[in-house]
């Protein structure tokens, strides 16, 4: 098979792990140590959400709506309650009345009424799979039988499934109170359009008038899911003293605490959230689904702990997905390929409640390029699909797919090389984002384009008739957010590092490395752990590519502070004015001792030493990525095979290069799935047809070549080690790169994602 013959190039002679050596000027950073939680994860000992085992544990199940849009007329739970082994049944009626008020719970703003209604439906079921009621029983089979005995009467309403459905005249209205918000001006009529906003700079008409070539295209992208392999879980115990303990597999324990507190009207002081290991999130494990329901069930069951675990079908029906979208892009360029004007209209499906990532998409859509005259219109639209959640650079992939496709059409019309047109237009320090905010610090977009243009891959010709090559660029703003941590100096010279960023992809390692670098001790001497919400100060979610950046900054600060305190303590003990620290040795007067000896001495001679740091960096370095895809299309079936794939990404500074590469490869492959085969398929009643991993087709190992990575390092000056977030931007370009490669291979362009075989075959006929 072509895919693997090609890919073999990548592995020949490269099967041993890359050498682990620090970057120039560092002792730890840039090396590739084994992660602290590694052994537990390869031996099966690591405890994930569903692995929590407690005395007297009850098992819960959720009854979900079979209808996409229906009024709930009545719910009768009496037969379920009567079933032997059933300990509690709850419905939306058990939820406290939620305020009709928008709150920012540390991640995204949402109306508390909607947040509550998504946990257990209030008066309406708004999507197939919307939670209606839940049961706790002595075992999962009993709980499952019990939900079958709950009788719900629905008045089925017509489903509203797409942007076009939702915006049609006389479209059924999902949310009675919803009015369009246009930058603070509220519409007067009931609507499904929650929000419209606009970025506008320069003179659009003049820009288009100055263009030699103008291309305008409309694109459609389908709903896709994050696809983490661990289904959502939630375990909770409501103690008789009113204290609540939640065991959560989440991207943010404090986000779980805040949301549960708001939904259940329980003060945060009464809620402790204990993080388990987390089996993937990608943005989808920030919203709570099960935790508040488990608390309600536990309370009703007399305080016994209750565990809820979703099936894969429930995960696909009721969690996650990111928005399907309609996107119109118009770009004009002069004869040299310089963009003179661009207009983007983004219509994003938020799912059942407002809050699609269209705001982020509006910033991504034109961001790689310096454009004087531009307009971006964003529309947030509710439809009868699950409430959308963040998904890795939320909204970015759809947006970049559209822009990058149009840009390549312009390059083709002008006869300009696809890398070159990106070099001509690429944004650099001093240029402005589409929303007008200036890049005041260095950014690495042009360096990533250059890296691709100079790569072996780009300079190796294609060899087959139906092969094609595509480039695309992408931007992600990244995030800072709040982080908190403590570090305790142990008598043996090790340091216990207590932080609260749940570790999804090796961040305990990258944080411990930054601490070790700051202190000048070995990585193995730092023992990081992720604490619960009672053990550290507030900490934002592991999301927005912020953890290695912000929590790493806190680790660095603690390292500096610990050294400073150790010097003071040693100065006291030695009765000297100043203590120096170099090459792992403290010296003052005639005294010279190692870090380990110093730790022992401090332990013996005074109070224990602990430092802490809380940070909230307001500035952070954005990420840029340029990617190159080679594909081959089977002209008789329309199937697209990825022959070769290279990603160049500005990573600022790679703390642990293996995990940086892993982020890049993983993001690319999620993007490949999005581009080629992943999509939500609904029937005319709005019921999800492909709610399984058989028919929701995420890439398998056999669908891919090796993913070649080029780590471009343009350090971000605002971070002590130059770190930029690396987790997200990698998913932005793939659909655009592949669309450009497919167009290059078959000579016609795809305006719809996914580019599944049937669609490619159709495009080839045209």
């Amino acid at each position: 098979m072509a895919v693997t013959e090609k890919a073999m190039h990548a592995t020949n002679g490269h099967t041993s792990p890359p050498a682990s050596k620090p970057a120039d000027g560092y002792t730890i950073i840039g090396s590739r140590p084994v992660r602290p939680d590694g052994v537990d994860k390869v031996t099966g000992r690591a405890i994930y959400g569903a692995d929590v085992r407690l005395q007297g544990l009850l098992y819960g199940k959720v009854l979900r709506s079979p209808h996409a849009h229906a009024r709930i007329l009545s719910i009768d739970t009496s037969k379920a309650e009567a079933l032997p082994g059933v300990k509690a049944v709850v419905t939306g009626a058990d939820l406290p009345t939620a305020a009709d008020k928008v709150e920012d719970l540390g991640e995204s703003a949402i109306n508390l009424k909607y947040l509550s209604a998504n946990i257990l439906a209030h008066d309406k079921a708004l999507y197939h799979g919307h939670a209606i009621a839940a049961v706790a029983a002595v075992d999962s089979h009993t709980a499952e039988e019990a939900i079958g005995f709950i009788e719900v009467k629905y008045e089925v309403l017509p489903p509203v499934m797409t942007v076009d459905d939702a915006m049609a005249d006389n479209a059924p209205i999902l949310l009675d109170g919803l009015r369009t918000d246009e930058m603070g001006e509220m519409g007067s009529k009931p609507t499904n359009l929650a929000k419209h906003f606009r970025h506008q700079q320069g003179d659009l008409a003049a820009g288009f008038a100055a263009a030699e070539v103008v291309v305008e295209r409309t694109f459609r992208t389908e709903t896709v899911h994050q696809g983490y392999i661990e289904p959502h879980t939630g375990t909770a115990q409501y103690n008789t003293d009113g204290q609540v303990t939640i065991w959560a597999s989440t991207q943010g324990t404090f986000a779980v605490r805040n949301q549960t507190s708001e939904i259940l009207r329980i003060p945060v002081s009464q809620i402790k959230v204990i993080p388990t290991e987390i089996g993937g999130g990608f943005g989808g494990k920030i919203n709570v689904y099960l935790e508040p329901v488990a608390v309600l069930l536990s309370k009703k069951a007399g305080g016994k702990p209750v565990k809820l675990v979703m099936s894969r079908t429930e995960v696909l029906q009721a969690t996650g997905p990111t928005s399907g979208s309609n996107i119109r892009i118009k770009i004009g360029a002069d004869a040299n390929g310089k963009i003179t004007a661009a207009h983007a209209e983004l219509y994003y499906e938020a799912g059942a409640f407002p809050g699609s990532p269209v705001g982020a998409a509006a910033n991504v859509v034109l961001a790689p390029y310096a454009i004087d005259n531009l307009q971006v219109d964003g529309y947030d639209i509710v439809v009868n699909r699950p409430r959308s959640a963040a998904y890795r650079a939320p909204g970015g992939t759809n947006a970049a797919y559209a822009t990058e496709s149009v840009l390549n059409e312009i390059a083709e019309k002008l006869g300009i090389d696809q890398a070159h047109i990106r070099l001509i237009n690429g944004a650099k320090q001093g240029d402005r984002r589409p929303d007008g905010v200036q890049h005041t610090e260095p950014i690495g977009l042009l360096e990533t384009v250059q890296a691709i243009a100079e790569s072996d891959h780009y300079n190796t010709p294609l060899t087959g008739k139906y092969q094609g090559r595509g480039i695309a660029c992408g931007y992600w703003n990244n995030w800072g957010g709040k982080s908190s941590a403590t570090a305790v100096l142990n008598a043996d010279g090790t340091v216990s590092l207590n932080e609260a960023s749940t570790d999804i992809g090796g961040s305990r390692a990258s944080i411990a490395m930054q601490f070790a670098e700051a202190v000048g001790i070995g990585y193995e001497q730092v023992k990081p752990r992720v604490g619960d919400t009672d053990s550290v100060a507030y900490n934002d979610v592991t999301g927005g590519s912020r953890t290695t950046f912000s929590t790493g900054m806190a680790a660095h600060n603690m390292g500096v502070e610990m050294l400073s305190q150790m010097k003071e303590r040693l100065a006291d003990v030695w009765e000297v004015d100043a203590v120096e620290y170099a090459d792992g040795e403290f010296s003052g007067g005639d005294n010279h001792i190692s870090f380990q000896e110093a730790a022992a001495l401090i332990y013996k001679t005074g109070e224990p030493l602990m430092v802490s740091s809380t940070v909230f960096p307001r500035s952070f370095g954005p990420g840029f990525s340029t990617q190159l895809a080679d594909v081959e299309v089977d002209p008789e079936t329309g199937k697209v095979t990825i022959l070769r794939y290279t990603i160049a990404q500005d990573v600022g500074r790679a703390i642990h290069p293996s995990y940086v590469e892993g982020q890049m490869q993983g993001g690319v492959v999620q993007g490949i799935g999005w581009a080629l085969n992943e999509e939500y398929i609904y029937n005319e009643k709005g019921q999800l047809l492909n709610g399984s991993l058989l028919d929701y087709r995420m890439p398998t190992a056999l669908d891919l070549p090796m993913i070649e990575t080029i780590l471009v390092e343009v350090p971000y000056p605002g971070h002590p080690y130059g770190v930029r977030g690396v987790g997200e931007v990698n998913i932005v370009p793939p659909a655009g790169a592949i669309a450009n490669a497919v167009a290059n291979a078959i000579g016609s362009r795809m305006f719809e994602l996914p580019m599944s075989p049937a669609r490619v075959l159709e495009a080839m006929k045209e």
């Binding site: 098979m1 072509a2 895919v3 089979h141 499952e144 087959g464 008739k465 139906y466 089977d634 002209p635 008789e636 079936t637 199937k639 080629l676 085969n677 398929i681 047809l689 492909n690 058989l694 028919d695 087709r697 890439p699 398998t700 056999l702 669908d703 599944s756 075989p757 049937a758 075959l761």
Partner: protein, 303 residues
Amino acid sequence: MQAFDFVSARSVDEVVAALAAGGERARPLSGGTDLLTQLKEGRRAYETVVDLKRIPELMEIRIGTDGLWLGASVPCHLINKNADIQKMYPALHDSTGLIGGTQIQGRASLGGNLCNASPAADGIPNLIVHSVTAHIAGPNGSRTLAVEDFCVAPGRNALQSGEVLVALQFPAPGKNFGAAYLRFIPRNEMDIAVVGAGASVVLSDDGQTIQSARISLGAVAPTPLFVKAAGEALAGQPVSEETLEKAAQIAQEAAKPISDMRGTIAQRKHLSGVLTKRALRIAIDRARGTSTVDSLGRLNGNG
């Protein structure tokens, strides 16, 4: 999942007795890769489940001068590993290498695949082109049935109450025989066939003429389809792209697919022709001992 009684049968008689007693509420269990999924999803519910895997006859691979006796519950991985089967029944080898993933092949059986009677079953077209006979045991004794008559509707087979599929009998392949099974899926593994195609040929000694051929399609009709006319049209014809094209056209016309989430009518009709041709090319290559096409049956890798 509804609770059920589990019977671990040790003989065919025991199975027949248990199934006869349970009637519609009893179901045999082979590899379980379809049945357990259906039970979990509530698509089927039984009061008795009868495990077949401890019955020697159903777990046997026996190759003799009269062909292959394949116990109905033999898992795919054992079939796929068998070098004689690969040589003698290459389409069977193809099928057992692509049903599910490796771990599904550790359990799934051809008998189970046949009895599950999915229109898209990857295990059935190969049985049809290999001219397989199903051996059935029941309360009234044994009977046989041509495998193309075994499936009667989506999810429904020809077994009567109390009957169990015991084995699949493959006739000995003649000389100059070749066969292949191919399917089209959007990924490269772990998918349900959008269309599947099996083909077998017997060539003249010089390899230039098709003496006889059989074609079968999956996922284009309520049951796996035996396209007899396509095979007959090939008989006596010279091996050429034109000949294969003609057979492909007949197969395409015979296909009566539906549109669903996995494929449209137009796509399936089109693929029926493409895959028929590709399966024939591989079958011919194998009959001749040549390799003029790639593993997907494409000339020069591009159709």
